[in-house]
């Protein structure tokens, strides 16, 4: 039965995968079969339906979360040390850089991505080739963040400015064309953070565009007609008609992107590994817990992430309710 846990060959992997799927089909079948049996009490039916999910969530999410919170108040030997880990995060210069970078990400990515998404959604609304254009802009969301990181790492690639040496990175080629020196964009803090942030903006703008395009399309035609009859058009139309109507959706988009940005780990890890002062909280969590052997600091960082995410999501939900009422 060893192969169930240690899968090495392709055949083993496929077999175990099929076993896993079959297992859950079985669970589903049992629950559904027992559900309608006459003498099964209602509470048992409910347990059958809700039980597996709740069990997984409790054991896999709630219980670990509690443990992590406790770990954040301990040191590596397991003794309770109060808020020491949090103090370290907020006072040590290296960690403060991490916090500063994270703040930069959380402020810039949502604003720029949403701004671009809104602008583009307005521009492309009922344009010729709308679907094609939107697909292209949305495409970065489908590829992994790792894929996007590779793409942009290539764009930022540096070759020294020597005779006989050409640039292979798009950005440096453009820079050289207008007469400047090629740069190692990811090397110098704090500007290098901006180049990493650009990747996330590139990914998330398509998401913003999609949601906001739907919002724009659901503005009642009567409102637009009335405004047009009053002589409103172009930028004024955007500012006084479109923008107020889609405001709830804009807030939802901004908050959702903000949450995604807080958790992003792939981009920094793939492009710089967190070096050159580019690390952010999600990245640092991994480094501290698994590389530097400080799961206590890692736990504190994870809890910090949690604390930062909660108010954003509450605001997000409130705005989603508002936008639903509007529809």
């Amino acid at each position: 039965m060893d192969f169930l846990v240690e899968t090495t060959s392709a055949g083993q992997k496929i077999v175990v995968m099929l076993i896993a799927i079959a297992l859950f089909l079985l669970v589903m079948a049992v629950v559904l079969w027992a559900a309608d049996k006459p003498r099964v009490p209602k509470w048992l039916t409910v347990v059958g339906f809700v039980g597996p999910a709740v069990l997984l969530i409790t054991a896999g999410l709630i219980y670990p979360a509690v443990l992590t919170i406790i770990t954040s108040f301990e040191n590596t030997s397991g003794d309770l040390v109060g808020f020491d880990n949090y103090a370290t995060i907020f006072t040590t210069p290296n960690f403060r850089t991490v916090l500063r970078n994270t703040a930069l990400w959380v402020v810039l990515v949502p604003l720029i991505a949403t701004g671009f998404g809104l602008m583009y959604a307005t521009l492309v609304d009922r344009a010729f080739g709308e679907k094609f254009s939107k697909t292209l802009v949305f495409l970065p969301m489908a590829i992994s963040m790792v894929g996007a990181s590779i793409i942009w790492k290539f764009v930022y690639e540096f070759r020294p400015d020597q005779p006989g040496v050409e640039q292979i990175g798009l950005l440096n080629q453009l820079v050289v064309l207008i007469g400047f020196e090629p740069q190692q964009w990811l090397l110098d803090p704090p500007i290098n953070n901006l180049f990493l942030i650009a990747v996330m903006v590139w990914i998330q703008a398509g998401f913003a565009m999609t949601i906001l395009s739907a919002a724009i399309k659901s503005i009642p035609d009567e409102i637009i007609e009335a405004a047009k009859m009053d002589g409103v058009q172009g930028f004024s139309m955007f500012r006084y008609v479109t923008l107020p109507s889609v405001r709830p959706s804009v807030v939802v988009v901004v908050t959702t992107i903000a949450m995604a940005t807080l958790k992003v780990f792939d981009i920094v890890r793939t492009m710089t590994g967190g070096q050159f002062n580019t690390s952010i909280v999600a990245n640092e969590f991994y480094s501290q817990s698994f590389i530097f052997g400080r799961p206590d600091i890692g736990a504190a960082l994870a809890v910090l992430l949690f604390i930062l995410v909660v108010p954003i999501i509450l605001y997000n939900i409130r705005q989603m309710r508002l936008s639903e009422e509007q529809r």
Binding site: F24, A53, A142, D266
Partner: protein, 326 residues
């Protein structure tokens, strides 16, 4: 997709025009029509779309922007087909004046001496499929109970499950790892399936519950009156109507798991490393080997791209329904 027996216009997935106009016409809907028939908003918009396009300038700018947006991706794509030497010495844009196409990079990356992306590809498939199937089946069961079985504590439990979407996965990773070690399954595929399923469940239950609530109660009641038990209702009434919702969420989850890095990094042993992990490591350890990185990146990206392009409709629908993963 089979529709429910009675109403002809129960979308079960079209999110925009949602619950306001779920008309249930008695009998046929073709005979009694006033003329001329007033167009619904959707039809009017379709008419407008054909006649009232925005200015050609806007269209042109939008197209140009879209193309510029895709240039970085295109650059890497072109590079993946160029010989190693060419990639490392000349910019990919010179390809057009001096085209040299080769599949060597893909061959090296997939089967080559130092990289084994073919295995990684299989790993990703094997990791992803159950990680899509398991949360959906469990969430369907749970969402059904939350929507259609009245039990004590239902409200509280639902809110609890729903609010767990807030929890960032980082907070659960290390204790989960410890537990997996204790049960002796650490490093195996099971850890990945369980982890991905756990993290997907709160959102899945919430989404599917939402879609289930959109289904008119009258359908369920009618089936109950006819003597149908939970199973019959589940399979004959709900499932057909939920197909778009299930499709949307499946695609979402598929892309999420296929593209995941963190969970794989924490739990996967060397035997089952997926593509994202391999490519991330390649970027770190051999960051200048662009011939490998470009081919590798596209091997990792081709399936999500195809899924996305082919099933875009469902994906977008899922997003709009609030299926936004942080």
């Amino acid at each position: 997709m089979s529709q429910a027996p009675t109403t002809p216009d129960t979308p079960g997935g079209e999110h925009h025009g949602s619950p306001t106009s779920k008309a249930t016409p008695q009998g046929s809907d073709v005979t009694e029509r006033k003329e001329p028939r007033k167009l619904t908003r959707k039809e009017q918009r379709a008419v407008d779309a054909k006649t009232r396009l925005t200015s050609p300038w806007a269209s042109a700018v939008a197209l140009v922007l879209a193309i510029l947006w895709s240039v970085p991706t295109f650059g890497l794509f072109v590079s993946s087909f160029r010989p190693e030497n060419a990639i490392k010495t000349e910019g990919w844009w010179t390809f057009f004046s001096n085209p040299e196409v080769t599949l060597e990079n893909y061959d090296t990356v997939l089967f080559g001496p130092s990289t084994d992306f073919a295995s990684a590809f299989l790993n990703t498939v094997v990791i992803t499929l159950p990680a899509v199937f398991i949360p959906i089946s469990l969430a369907l069961l749970a969402a059904y109970a939350f929507a259609w079985i009245d039990f004590k504590g239902r409200g509280f439990l639902f809110v609890a499950v729903f609010s767990l979407q807030v929890v960032p996965i980082q907070i659960a990773l290390i204790p989960l790892l410890t537990q997996y070690v204790r049960f002796g399954i650490d490093g195996s595929l099971w850890t990945l399936w369980l982890s991905h399923s756990i993290f997907a469940l709160p959102l899945a239950i919430f989404l599917l519950h939402n879609f289930m609530m959109d289904i008119p109660r009258s359908l369920i009641e009618a089936a109950r009156v006819d003597g149908a038990g939970h199973v019959k209702i589940f399979f004959q009434v709900l499932l057909p109507l939920l197909v778009p919702a299930i499709a949307s969420f499946s695609i979402f989850q598929f892309l999420w798991v296929w593209n995941d890095l963190l969970v794989a990094l924490v739990f996967a042993s060397t035997d089952i490393r997926p593509l994202t992990l391999e490519i991330s490591d390649l970027a770190g350890s051999r960051g200048a080997e662009w011939h490998l990185l470009s081919a590798g990146a596209f091997i990792a990206m081709v399936v999500p791209l195809l899924v996305f392009l082919g099933l875009q409709r469902f994906f977008v629908r899922g997003l709009l329904a609030g299926g936004v993963k942080g």
